[in-house]
């Protein structure tokens, strides 16, 4: 009886590893082909599938540049947007949630519930009204229209609130007050350093969200020299590059390699952050 149970468990386990391996292939192969093909010439790509990198990375890059697609500029633009959005999101999410967690003001519960509702509401669908309003203010084709709204990022406030509730040390705040520190100074010099791990997690998500965002810049940004990477990806789909497969793959690789690097370094933060954003409630 006992050995029978162990036998079925072992057979089951074997089957599961086969399934996991199949899923691993499905997950990895498209990404691997993308990365490898970025280093292969169009001729090599046309000759057949290769799973080993080749030597035509730079050549592919120059083909793109020759056709007026400046990958580095798109990279720099995306980086500028993502870094500034990340700082604003993290700073103001911590500021707002600190206000909710530490103080007992009238309307606090209402505000806190309101944030939860905001997380669920598809605010993106008001993009047309947003666009028209920004064009009246002269802020279309301007990064400000993409960066400033991140001050009010409900999802991050929700996350920051969950996080602060577990790390805020009230005695430390009171000690700061006894020493005569102002409330803002206590937040900036005592709480922010304590909240750093949460800030990093939040920052990674804010960075990736901005980096991958296609729809908003696609609607708001018009001049070529301000194009972000996802907008260049859209350009790559056009006729100019139809047969330059190596260069197309290189353009796509440029958008995902930085994210893969971030993931390799910070995967612990990212995986635990996914679970933290929702589970407690």
């Amino acid at each position: 009886m006992q050995s029978n149970y162990r036998l079925t468990t072992n057979i089951l386990r074997g089957g599961i590893y086969v399934c996991l391996f199949a899923l691993l292939i499905v997950t990895i192969v498209p990404i691997w082909l993308l990365l490898v093909n970025a280093t292969r010439s169009t001729i090599e790509i046309n000759q057949g599938i290769g799973i080993l990198p080749s030597t035509h990375l730079l050549e592919n890059y120059y083909i793109l540049e020759g056709k007026g697609l400046y990958l580095w500029r798109g990279f720099f633009n995306s980086m500028t947007l993502a870094v500034s959005s990340t700082f604003l999101t993290v700073y103001f999410a911590l500021l707002t949630s600190y206000g909710i967690v530490v103080y007992n003001f009238k309307g606090k519960q209402f505000f806190s519930n309101f944030i939860v509702i905001l997380v669920l509401i598809p605010m993106q669908l008001s993009i047309i009204g947003f666009y028209q309003y920004m064009s009246k203010l002269g802020l279309t084709d301007n990064y400000a229209s993409l960066i400033l709204p991140t001050i009010a990022n409900a999802g991050s406030v929700f996350f920051a609130k969950q996080y602060l509730e577990s790390v805020v040390i009230r005695d430390l705040i009171d000690a700061g007050r006894v020493d005569g520190a102002s409330e803002l100074a206590i937040f900036h010099f005592i709480m922010l350093p304590i909240a750093m791990p949460g800030a990093v997690t939040m920052g990674i998500f804010a960075f990736i969200a901005s980096w991958n965002n296609f729809f908003n810049p696609f609607i708001l940004i018009t001049s070529q020299e301000k194009y972000t990477l996802p907008m260049l990806v859209q350009t790559l789909r056009g006729d100019t590059y139809r047969t330059e497969f190596g260069s197309i793959y290189l353009g796509l690789a440029a958008t995902i390699v930085p994210i893969i690097i971030i993931y390799v370094i910070f995967s612990k933060y990212i995986v635990s952050g996914i679970a933290m954003g929702s589970v407690k409630e």
Binding site: L95, T96, I128, F130, I260, A275
Partner: protein, 297 residues
Amino acid sequence: MLQMKFKQDHYGYLFITPFIIAFLIFGFYPVVNTLYLSFTDTTLMSKQVNIVGFKNFTNLFNDDIFMNAVKNTWLLWILNFIPQIGVAMVLSVWFTSLRLNIKGAGIWRAIFFLPNLLMPASIAALFFSLFGYYGPVNQFLVRMEILPEAMQFLQNQNIARTLVIFIQWWMWFGATIILLMAGMTAIPESLYESAMMDGATESQMFWNITIPLLKPILVYLFVTSLVGGMQMFDIPYLLTDGRGSPSGSIMTNNILMYLKFSSSKGHIGAASSVGMLVFIMTCVFAFGIFYFLREKD
């Protein structure tokens, strides 16, 4: 001491003020403005604007393209959500099972989650290249003699839809595993132990302990996936020509909204009404799910 505390509590307003101001300017007002525009015939070109009442909305309901886009969006979402939650549930059970004791669960999970972080625009362009006429998939299938000759995958309606569904599934099942596993590991082991004492089978324990206790997470997954799914844009937009081709089979709500916005005249009144209808539809379903599935004490 008490009075001092009272005075400090006012600082709460100071801390939340930047959020409220930014929300009013960049969140609330755009919604109001979109609502207003949806009752007008505003275009990007014209100076004169007329209030047209519900005309934009009645036009949409009589417009087969819009009704088709709504139908497609639901179809693409539901057909990706079911396998997403199904596969993730099975894997989460395997990874958390003490009996199976799967090695390296954390590593498997970390790899399966990777596609979720990659740029959707690039993923769509990647699959466009992989499934192109001269792409690697055709090369492989022809060389293995599975297909007699290369095939125009992306000109076939069912294949295009299946690809959108597959990509969405591919990008999201790993994230769903992380959430489900977080929920499963939070269930006290003692519940399963006492059920085993009473002679419960594994499937009985799954349906009577695991699923009911996972309900809050399942509701969260359901609602967030729905809200995201109703706004699907990047992948169907960049997988084919940006018009939902072939024959509108992957036309979604947001693609239609964008097409009205980017039409030569820039019909932002009509585009706004698409946005508003989808906004209302999503909110009704999201809060409906919340209301019906809430914890009844």
